[in-house]
Amino acid sequence: MPDLLIELFSEEIPARMQKRAGEDLQKLVTNGLVEAGLTYASAAAFTTPRRLTLTVEGLLDQSPTTREERKGPKADAPEKAIEGFLRGAGLTRDQVEERETPKGNVLFAVIEKPGRPAAEIIAEVLEATIRNFPWPKSMRWGSAPLKWVRPLHSILCILTDEAGHSVVPGEVDGITFGDTTEGHRFMAPGRFPVTSFDDYSAKLTRAHVVLDASERADTIWNDATNAAFANGLEVVEDKGLLAEVAGLVEWPVVLMGKIGDDFLDLPPEVLQTSMKEHQKFFSVRNPKTGRIERFITVANRETADNGVTILAGNEKVLSARLADAKFFWENDLRTVREVGLEGMAKPLADVTFHNKLGSQAERVARIEALARELAPVVGAKPDLAAEAARIAKADLASEMVYEFPELQGIMGKYYAEAAGHNDGVPEACEEHYSPLGPSDDVPTAPVSVAVALADKLDTLTGFWAIEEKPTGSKDPYALRRAALGIIRLVLDNKLALALKNAFAARIGLHVAMLAESTSSDECEDLEKNLRLDADFQSKFDAIKADREGVLHSFGFNDVGSKTLPLASDLLAFFHDRLKVYLRDQGIRHDIIDACIAMPNNDDLTLLVKRARALSETLATDDGENLTQGFKRANNILTQAEEADGVEYSYGADIKFAEEPQETALFEALDTAEAKIAPAMKEQDFAAAMSAMATLRGPIDAFFEAVQINADNQTVRRNRLNLLSRIRTLCLSVADLTKVEG
């Protein structure tokens, strides 16, 4: 059984594409081989900046012969039928058999497909793979029509068995398959032949190429941590950077360099970002002080001077880079000193946030108003929350963030500190973007929470007002993330916030601003009167009534007609995000639906408290059976109501009870009601639900012993009204009709 070795040798492949390309090569080639009948024992792919390599071991040396039998028409069928059959089988009359069957003599064709040699199949599969390779971005070069990620120079494709190796005959657009490759571009130039995978990897090592990317990454990490350790320092871990750097070198050589003294006082995030983004350096930290003091760079070669020249060059480039960073840092600090963060934020008036939603400055003003209103809900001082919101985005106008956008927030914190804040504002500048993902930390400091909520609330209500909602996989403004952010901020901080009114108040304002016809008077009135915590419709009606006699603009009328549907839609979006979030925490979507159907479903803290209690109750034997009992009661009742055309909702009387189980149910309901009503008032869902669960026994016993549809109509009606009590009581806790199973 031969082994196959393929190497596609090209100009430098972007580091970020290499891993996937190796996987694609393996998948496409092995799938192609198997489809053609060539099975194999094992396969592995490797990548370096200049090559994709695939080794396939234990390959069949040819595909198996296949035999197919086809039944045709009777031997004495009309000529045309027989001709058609022969054509389909690709045989002549004397090549098909005549067999006796109970129906007479019938023609049978036996089609044998002989196996094909592995080399022939491989050549076809490899050519198809190269022509259809799924590069994220590919290109043409020279005059050839072929596309590849960068110019493809050679294709090595050999089969090796005990007898030796042979080149698989084939070519793609003038590149003929061969058995040679190249080593390191500078340390071992020139081509050499190889005879097998073992020979290939051994010769590559000698030619200063480490074929395996994970081996390169391990070498880099080990050498880097050792070099740092020897100096009492530690490397700042960065897996993404490690993978990238391993994709930039074939022969990694780790070098540790110094950062000029002038730059050591820059914020560590600035040093780290500048070194990583521009130079792909690792940061080396002093564990005692937390300062970044050195860097690690990874060269692609050894040199006679042990990297002295290379390191000197890198240090020089870094100094130039950091001189820029220091220049930005000092300019920004001067700006803060001279005009404050508000002054720094001025240019945001000229930065468009979104062409329909105005400038960044307008957005900041909205967030400020929101933060002020939200402050009492989160336990922050309104003035402080407003101030934090006003300056939280000032760093977007700083020189440092212009150069390094990923430092937004972090620079804000430093600049707020420089402005003399020590009141939670610097933290708010940094944390108001959080949480960024499902596992990101959630801010808990009141000022941070106020600004973080305000920021996201403005974004979401704004985009809902202009009806640019996420669709399918498209979510360019990260609105799903913003909604999840609000959900986590509310839940983790146990905030009581009625979202629907808050949504409506802000969507209403957005709608008013968007409509050109809205007068400034109207906008002012809306701004003054729409409150996050007040019922939108009644506020709007009041404003409208106050403006009695004034002609309303189309924009103002739009606010009345468009706002609540948009707010409901946004709330539904939140409920969907909440389901996804809680599903990951083990709460079923039907349980959440049962709670969403209850009043105050826009208070997420309450909603989740209810859902958790219900989830726990349903996990018990009593809870699960109670649901069955409830459903049975509900079904019987619904059918009876439909049949009789009346609603059984009141008047069950114990005096018409005939059976002891019936009497017992009356008593159980009385007891449970006495417990549930006050518990619900206290929003103690757990107590309410455990009281509800105690009904399970009496309900089961009742259904066991009692025939609802009694002949006596009074007794029947009384029993239906009793079922109605079960329904009403259970539905006051959660909508159990939504619970599955």
């Binding site: 970020r16 130079q279 060059g313 020089k316």
Partner: protein, 313 residues
């Protein structure tokens, strides 16, 4: 590989060596284009000649202007007027990487001591409606060149593909010569009877242009010139292909393209004057791109752009 090249001693020596090297590799060594441009790519020898089927090989220095980068000659690395060295070969030869590395050797970079890397960098010029794939080339962590395989120019697919090399001459030379501030760099031989530094030649002009670019240039005039250049470009291209006087087919692509270049530079000046808002920016870039596309459309209708008289039939 035992190429012991003597280190160059001045900025101009590095330029001369690049000229000699690329001449020896068969390039036509052209002179700079005589208009203000933002980068060597704007030279018609690159923009227009990368279009169509005709083979091409050219190398040249191009003075380039980026008004917003002016720092009054004080920043060690930033200039509003600087030099690029540009090579364009169509179709891109299979050994272009090796040819390029040869040029680094020629200007004194010892491959045995330095770490040269090709790091992904896709190139795009929104003003020219052009893009390509390639790398920035790093020498010991410093970007010394852009290396691009043009895929599209002026909205046209490149067939065949051109290979483009762009060297940022000041930065490269400062590195080779071991100079920390561009103004300290020897321009001619430091042993010459009258030795001139880069600063001797350009410090004053950097100051003058920085002041003019940022604070004095008449924006009303510039805005008008932009409109005029745009109108003129379109008017030139709207002329009939056949010249009524000579009876020849003369499509005036280059005069039209000059107007496109002019509009592009005026836009850069307006940008430096800070009178273009973020939203307007995109619109201006789009207008220049529209001109570049029309010029590209016209160029492929000319002989240099691969048009054959038979095509007319």
């Amino acid at each position: 590989m035992s190429d012991t090249v003597t280190p160059p001693r001045s900025f101009q020596e590095i330029i001369l060596r690049l000229q000699t090297y690329w001449a020896s590799k068969g390039c036509a060594v052209l002179q700079p284009y005589d208009m203000e441009v933002g980068a060597g790519t704007f030279h018609p020898a690159t923009t227009l000649r990368s279009l169509g089927s005709q083979p091409w090989a050219a190398a040249y220095v191009q003075p380039s202007r980026r008004p917003t980068d002016g720092r009054y000659g004080e920043n060690p690395n930033r200039l509003q007027h600087y030099y690029q060295y540009q090579v364009l070969i169509k179709p891109s030869p299979p050994d272009l990487q090796d040819l390029y590395l040869g040029s680094l050797r020629a200007i004194g970079i010892d491959m045995d001591l330095h770490d040269i890397r090709f790091v992904e960098d896709d190139w795009e010029s929104p003003t020219l409606g052009a893009w390509g794939l390639g790398w920035e080339v790093w020498c010991d962590g410093m970007e010394v060149s852009q290396f691009t395989y043009f895929q599209q120019v002026g909205g046209h697919d490149c067939h065949p593909v051109s290979g483009e090399l762009t060297y940022g001459l000041e930065r490269l030379a400062m590195y080779i010569l071991g100079v920390d501030h561009v103004m300290d760099m020897p321009f001619n031989d430091p042993q010459a009877p009258i030795a001139l530094s880069y600063g001797d030649i350009f410090k004053q002009t950097e100051e003058e242009y920085a002041r003019w670019n940022f604070d004095v240039a008449n924006t009303e005039v510039l805005l008008r010139h932009f409109e005029e250049a745009e109108a003129e470009c379109e008017k030139i291209l709207a002329q009939a292909h056949d010249d009524p006087k000579t009876g020849k087919r003369i499509i005036m692509v280059h005069p039209a393209y000059d107007q496109c270049i002019k509009a592009s530079h005026i836009f850069n000046l307006l940008d430096a004057r800070g009178v273009i808002s973020v939203t307007e920016r995109q619109a201006y870039i789009g207008r220049v791109r529209a001109l570049a596309k029309q010029c590209a459309d016209a160029f492929v209708q000319t002989r240099a752009g691969g048009w054959q008289p038979e095509d007319a039939a």
